[in-house]
Amino acid sequence: MGRKQPIIVCSNSGCVSSGGIDIFITLYSEIFNNPNLIEKYEVKKGGCHGFCEVGPTVIVGDEKVFYIKVDTAKAKDIINEHLINGKIIERYLFFDFETKKRVPYYDDIPFIKKQERLLLKSSPFVDPEDFVDYMKYDGFKALETVLDKYQPLDVCNMILHSELRGRGGGGFYTGKKWLIQAEQIAQPKYVICNGDEGDPGTFMDKYLMEGDPFRILEGILIAGYATMSNCGIVYLRKEYDLAVKRMENALKILYDKKFLGYSVMGRPFAFDIKIEYGPGAYICGEETALFASIESKRGNPKVKPPFPTERGLFDNPTLINNVETYANIRDIINLGVEEYLKIGTAESKGTKIFTLSGSIKHSGLIEMPFGVTFDSIINDIGGGMQKLKFKAIQVGGASGGIIPISDINEQISFENLAKLDSLLGAGGIVVLDESTCVVEMAKYYIEFAQEESCGFCVPCREGTQKLLKILNKIIDGEGQLDDIEKIRSISSFMFETSLCGLGREAINPVISMLKNFDQELKEHIKDKKCRAGVCPRLVKYVINKESCIGCGACKLICPVNAITGIQGQYHTIDREMCIRCGQCYKICPKEAILRS
């Protein structure tokens, strides 16, 4: 009997939330009850393929036929038509609008094909809950190599030479951190995996932990060996319940298989990993605040130095890296440093996982080498804009910048983004179209920073409040020209004097707005005009008598009954009652409602 053909149901939270588990159960039980099929096929769960938008998905067979937006009825059709009759079901395939053709195979989907994947390459085909499946795809090969062939310091040096930089946003050279940690003599020495992802618009850590938990744990184990540490901690948000479940499951298996404990893989290396839950505060993504939360204290950051590698958790040496950083370790060892160095740009090596969302056709998780341009991410992989024209890109979450259309051909790398007054952050990319107001966007981020500020140091606590006040004033149409100067001086004050990164970098969205969207800001202040029509006080809606056909659609949708008129005759908007929500503007079939 030959090897069974796999049928893989994506089981990450994106697909699960649209019903992935039901499909798994349907396929599993149908095939289980059919003696012909059970000999040929095995149904299993898979990690994330990143194309969450078309989920839940099912990949059939070695040729990887890719069915999208599957539900239980479609799942039964897949069994009857594809598995039993051997015909690919055309109508359930992905439709490529560019070529106007259905795309049958996973590898040919433009969103997937145009990516250059390293970390996410095997994840869609590996069951995140199955250790044996992980082992089939070079699982723990890197750990074994390291344990048998290298001294701990050699491993640190390998990581140093690979020029791997921290993927959490800081971009510090990982190997340097490891070497410092390795030199420490105090015990116990901690190795922490920072999965306290909370940046708006970012979800790569979540999907890595859900989709490939063993890879992360392998990275942590290698870090533990290389830095001669013995206590690993995976720190993740309690809200990520699926990631929590998968990590707990993976840890249990590794203890059972003796890949953790007093003798890892039977070698003289003892290492433990446990899970700590982030109790829900954005600031705990900052390393010293994270330690405080594990120590059951309020998450207030501390002044650095001393750095965590010298005095970290419980004042002991602590190595802390981001989830994605650990995910890279396995590939650096398996590929070899030479090969790894060939990927990326001069100062940023390797690949980066980005989360693409916003007003773009295809959103999801993507992976590209450093040096990729925004243009290629948005237009090649993302498939271009949904409806409205492109306006800007927001990169790096709350500490990133808003990048205008003129910079669309810029490369994404640590060094280049710094030049554009933005940060890579964790790699969240949100594409904004013309219906977004950058002033309102800047306000949104400042509001976020203000809510999440721990309140410990004055510049951040007061600065974010003052900035928010000014921005709200501008949005309400009461801005004055000297407000721009005020924003500048508060921002530079916050940058220079805030205690931690949250305060220092909170100003990035505002600074990039000042730099790149000066014109739009001044329109808000001088002309009392919001070109995107977002700021409610700055727009007016009127009905054009000539084009109104009196269909009454606007009257029906108006939430405050501000529109009056008789069927068939032109309608009017009561300006006093109107709350400027713009719903009538969107619904009017004749474009008779004018916005100014």
């Binding site: 994106g14 939330s17 970012t202 990520y240 839950y277 309020r298 959103s363 979450g397 969240g428």
Partner: protein, 162 residues
Amino acid sequence: MDSVKNSNILDKILKKYANPQRSDLSKILLDVQNEFGYLSEELIRKVSNFVGVSATETYGFASFYSMYNLEKPGKYVIRACKGTACHVKNANRLIRDIENYLKIKPGETTKDGLFKFEVSSCLGVCALAPVLIINDKTYTRVNSKIVKSLIDEIRRGNSSGS
């Protein structure tokens, strides 16, 4: 009667921590919350006594983090996301509509104790924005209509059941 039963339950939880450290506080609070649903003033006092910190300090710790409930939460917790991706897809209006429909603000619980409304900074399902979680179930690409019907459904289910 009830309070005796409750203190027995509490004792059982505390017994797990034979020699409580300051750093155990978060775990004890979480265990207690999982059992009682929220941390009442009385529970905070008792836990503080047990660990050997002041009740003020425990309250300061618990109130800092969103994971701890200091008030009795509703039977259904509705968590709306307002991350960037949801924000650009009009999460603001969705949040406003939920506020109006439930007649409560984020962080509050309806008078009948059925719903608690929360707003999260990002739930990490950005590709399917806007997103909403009710208890443990994630709803993607929602709009006000869908949310209203979800709320109505829960209300109906609860009024007929009791």
